[in-house]
Symmetry: C2
Subunit: 184 residues, 2 copies
Amino acid sequence: MRYPPSETAEKHERILKEASQLFRERGFSDVSVSEIMQASGLTHGPFYNHFASKEALMAECIVHAMKASLKGVKAAGRSTESREKYIHRYLSTAHRDTAGEGCVMAALGGQIRQEPAVRGPFTECLKSIIDNMSSWFPSRSKQASRNRSIQALTSMVGALILSRAVDDPVLSEEILREVREGLT
Amino acid sequence: MRYPPSETAEKHERILKEASQLFRERGFSDVSVSEIMQASGLTHGPFYNHFASKEALMAECIVHAMKASLKGVKAAGRSTESREKYIHRYLSTAHRDTAGEGCVMAALGGQIRQEPAVRGPFTECLKSIIDNMSSWFPSRSKQASRNRSIQALTSMVGALILSRAVDDPVLSEEILREVREGLT
DNA sequence: TGTACATCAGTGAACGCGCGTTCACTGATGTAC
DNA sequence: TGTACATCAGTGAACGCGCGTTCACTGATGTAC
């Protein structure tokens, strides 16, 4: 049957949100379209009313989550305190244990390379994030700020990934702490 | 029919090697048992003569590849020149473009967290790598060396992952270069 | 040394299952007159 | 304003396919006598 257009837009958002979370929790391949639709409170059929394919949904999810990250980076840029707070939150056990709501680079970074439709949009978002993070590190030159932001970003992403992979809580926390302290 | 035991051991190694490469190239879920066996020159049936399950193979692959990494780290520890060479090789476009033969942390790091059978063995291997890398960074204290090795490791892994995810070659090389220069 | 037999890795068809995707159908909503 | 009809998101069965895993069978090898 027909549904009011307002609901359609709302459902699209809901699918995107649920998929975004599930993909970050378990990876693209280990989450099925049916599962996403079920989490969104729908049957699997109408998925194709909202997205052209699973791959198209993946791309939209990445952009959606990267834009949220960019927003966070922008907000954190306002003061030294908020930047340090951001880094502490990023490299926290809370963030480590909630991959579904967390950084998409740490959750799906390793899988983006294999999804052609996702790499382009991801790259554009990453550029914005690096540009914005550069202002976190005032240096003698713009280039130096940019370099420091790349170094900070790579170590934050790497630390979160390794702290999640490891099953020894002591080592896991050590990785987060040392990178945190190296950056603040 | 029956085969000489020497061939059995050799085939086991071959499966392990091919699986290791395919998993690093495409991830655990996107490589099938049949594909691995075909790459090893066998039909899919006898897989279960060699391994208890796909998950067991995954665990063995991780350990196999992590031990190879450990060997590399140990060998690089002999001199300042060899350490810098190692870092240059790790953060090179050649390594970026050959994930199948490269660092298992960068290739599969994000997926290990989801494979219970793999996390334990991975953690033990990572501990050895961190211990060994600590000698790369002579500092006032053992703790300080260890901290620097954790910081170096996380940024190397993070940089390789992001440089692979990005589809703009200029940005990809910039990420590798800046982290490389930050470490040498 | 020669013969009879147990062993067991490899073969390839088959298992049940869930995947991504399609489609004929439903029926409340929006539109035309 | 009331009626007739087109629209189209949602339903759920069905598509072909490949997955991980199992198993009855094969037959060269190793072993016992």
